[in-house]
């Protein structure tokens, strides 16, 4: 760490000034036992829940179990330095993390200490926020009505996410959960040009819990290359970090996001993933001897996730008048937690818990992924319970029939495998379905703007693609979007500002463009 002589001087100055001062009574205790990253301490009479404790050798800990005759705490450092009989001091501070714009573009650990080797953060004590905070109350919120564009056609069209919503991303390993997150982060560059000082820019916070460090390095590098790091914070509690750090990292990341939300900004936070967080929590709690329940998780594992996700909110415009803790109204915190399932089992304990807490889920399926449908979103069981209100009207109208068309397609597809003679109507539905599935496919790291999505979905839903071969569609999509953006740049604005449906004159322009591009492709 780089220390500047001027700063050392200022610390020493304060020290000299307060030399006579501090005769505070400190609460102390003795270590009764220590092991597996937890310690039991006798004494510490006035200890608070989640209070930061100081052990010998500079090791810090957090009080988690306040019992009649001892305090159970987790150690946040090298447990080998702590011995039985050591004195423990209470600090009187609840565990907090630094927050603020200085964290943007940085990789920090669960306690907010930088781990990217780019030097100190430059935050002050005023920027510290306790990691556990109450969620905004009912009167401090307002309904979700602004879209959070993920840039993924299948999601924005059928499972729209609103700012302030909680949408679960669930699926087996290797189904593209993290890829979906990375694309969503990249897509946020469209909100404010990637400039974090622009109030329209959506701030992204990626909390990596129990991930391989190599995976996180890869994600950070990818974000840097795409220019997405300036508006992103990465909170890293990787697989080698203590279990306590892993389970606390989500709350730390949330506190960092809340700072922006309370200042009227828009934030998207990604917890990747909550199943690993629950495992870390289970480990700590079993070591602290809290009674195990179903699947050996402690009884409050539901609350562990609900109190975290409840902090996602869209603040009321007059929130600062109701509660001075909010500096501005209208800010949002959108939570996109990830839960990994085993063998597609969504009825396991943690997945059902988180499904019931969130406002919908994006279900990724390995069979779809393996058959080349990527992103592997299963539109049948994926839902967004509040996002519909947040879709732009043009998209809502265009994609309205998409879900139904796809559902009919899947049913007919299964049926059509048995017989060869199909009537014309059935054949038409199959043709349409195949093409819709094809245009919802999308490459990784190439988020599509919502206006471009509307253009291609319009082409699909009006049946304009039915006479094109499926393998021509990718080329058609690229050519159509390019053509519309080059020749009719006004279309994008018209789609965004449309009150109900795409205006008739815009539709005419689009029909013309589709015909022109089709002629070009088929030639």
């Amino acid at each position: 760490m780089d220390l500047r002589p001027a700063e050392v001087t200022s610390i020493l100055e304060k020290e000299i000034e307060n030399y006579q001062g501090d005769t505070r009574m400190q609460s102390v205790g003795t270590v009764l036992s220590v092991g597996d990253g937890v310690a039991r301490v006798y004494g510490l009479d006035d200890c608070m829940m989640n209070e930061l404790l100081e052990f010998a050798g500079g090791v810090r800990g957090i009080a988690l179990n306040l019992e009649e005759d001892n305090v159970g705490c987790v150690l946040l450092g090298d447990a080998a330095k702590v011995r039985e009989g050591d004195t423990v001091k209470a600090t009187g501070r609840i565990i907090s993390v630094p927050t603020g714009p200085q964290l943007l573009g940085r990789v920090v650990n669960a306690l907010g200490d930088p781990v990217d080797g780019k030097g100190p953060l430059g935050t002050t004590d005023d920027d510290l926020r306790p990691i556990e905070q109450d969620a905004p109350s009912v009167v401090e919120r307002q309904p979700v009505d602004q879209p959070l564009q993920t840039g993924i056609k299948a999601v924005d069209a059928m499972i729209p996410i609103g700012r302030g919503q909680r949408e679960l991303i669930i699926g087996d390993r290797q189904t593209g959960k993290t890829a979906l997150i990375v694309d969503t982060i990249l897509s946020q560059a469209n909100t404010g040009g990637g400039d974090p000082t622009n109030p329209e820019q959506v701030i992204c916070i990626y909390v990596a819990v129990g991930q391989k460090q190599s995976t996180v390095v890869d994600i950070v590098r990818r974000l840097e290359q795409a220019g997405a790091m300036p508006y992103t914070i990465v909170v890293l509690a990787s697989a080698i970090d203590e279990a306590s750090m892993q389970y606390l990292s989500c709350y730390g990341g949330c506190a960092m996001g809340e700072r922006f939300r309370d200042e009227g900004r828009h934030v998207a936070i990604f917890y990747d993933d909550l199943y690993k967080q629950a495992l870390a929590y289970r480990q700590v709690m079993l070591l602290l001897r809290r009674p195990p329940g179903r699947e050996a998780f402690p009884g409050d594992v539901f609350n562990l996730h609900s109190r975290l996700l409840e902090r996602a909110a869209k603040l009321a415009d007059n929130a600062p008048e109701i509660n001075p803790r909010f500096k501005a109204g209208g800010g949002t915190l959108t939570a996109l937690p990830v839960v990994e399932t085993q063998e597609g089992d969504v009825s396991a304990y943690i997945p059902t818990n988180v499904i019931s807490i969130t406002d919908g889920q994006i279900f990724l399926e390995s069979s779809l992924f393996n058959s080349g449908i990527r992103p592997a979103v299963n539109a049948g069981i994926s839902v967004s319970r509040v996002g519909g209100a947040a879709q732009i009207p043009a998209m809502k109208k265009t994609a309205g029939s998409l879900r139904l068309d796809l559902a009919q397609f899947r049913e007919l597809q299964a049926f059509a495998q048995f017989g060869s003679d199909l009537d014309a109507a059935t054949q038409a539905k199959l043709t349409r379905g195949e093409r819709l599935v094809e245009i919802l496919k999308q490459g990784q790291y190439v988020p599509v703007k919502v206006t471009d999505q509307v253009v291609i979905l319009y082409a699909g839903s009006t049946g304009a693609l039915d006479d094109l071969a499926v393998k021509q569609l990718a080329e058609f999509e690229r050519a159509l979007i390019e053509y519309v953006n080059d020749s009719h740049p006004e279309v994008a604005e018209q789609i965004l500002t449309a009150k109900k449906d795409i205006p008739d004159e815009t539709k005419a322009v689009l029909d013309g463009a589709i015909a022109a591009v089709k002629a070009q492709i088929q030639a």
């Binding site: 220390l3 610390i11 009574m25 205790g29 004494g43 004195t87 780019k118 935050t123």
Partner: protein, 189 residues
């Protein structure tokens, strides 16, 4: 070094509460506390503790070893010890002295403390410190001194589970911690 109040397990605490309450109600607190002090002293050697924690044989045989000690004791103390042996809870005797003393001090509004210092303190200094602390804590604090050269200078006072650290070592530790934790402006900003 460390906390003055000994860690007393819950079982001992409950037995101590029972005896203390009974003795207070019957007005024989002084007598019983003297008995308990005597028993605690007798139970200190490791051999006796080993006997208490792992004794075999019948209740009468084991209790017989305490006969001499209990001859002059208050009837309540005698019943207490007999009941402990009967219930096979004689390990309670190991910590009963400490547990009883805690309750006695609480009852009298008093507290015991330890003053650690780099050089031996004179009794006048100890008394003066005790008076100051008594005023601050609203309790009658009796201090004993302990020499801890690592402190370098100043004093560190423990009363119960509270501590006032005015030692040079404590200050240096605090300074080191603040240096390590200082959230400094980013280099070049």
């Amino acid at each position: 070094m460390g906390v003055v109040a000994a860690a007393v397990d819950q079982v001992t605490g409950r037995w101590a509460d029972a005896l203390f309450g009974l003795a207070r109600r019957r007005g024989v607190l002084d007598q019983v506390s003297a008995d308990i002090e005597r028993i605690a002293l007798e139970c200190k050697p490791p051999a006796v503790q080993a006997f208490l924690q792992g004794a075999t044989g019948s209740t009468a045989e084991r209790l017989a070893k305490f006969d001499v000690l209990l001859e002059s004791a208050n009837p309540h103390t005698r019943s207490f010890v007999s009941l402990l042996f009967e219930r096979r809870r004689e390990e309670v005797l190991v910590q009963i002295g400490a547990a009883f003393e805690q309750r006695l001090l609480e009852e009298r509004g008093a507290a015991k403390g330890v003053v650690e210092s780099a050089r031996p303190l004179e009794s006048a200094e100890l008394e003066a410190l005790g008076r100051d602390l008594s005023k601050r804590l609203g309790k009658d604090v009796t201090l004993t001194g302990r020499v801890t050269p690592e402190l370098v200078g100043g004093v560190r006072v423990f009363v119960g589970t509270s501590m006032i650290d005015q030692s040079l070592q404590g200050r240096m530790d605090g300074l080191r911690r603040r240096m390590m934790e200082a959230r400094l402006p980013a280099v070049g900003s």
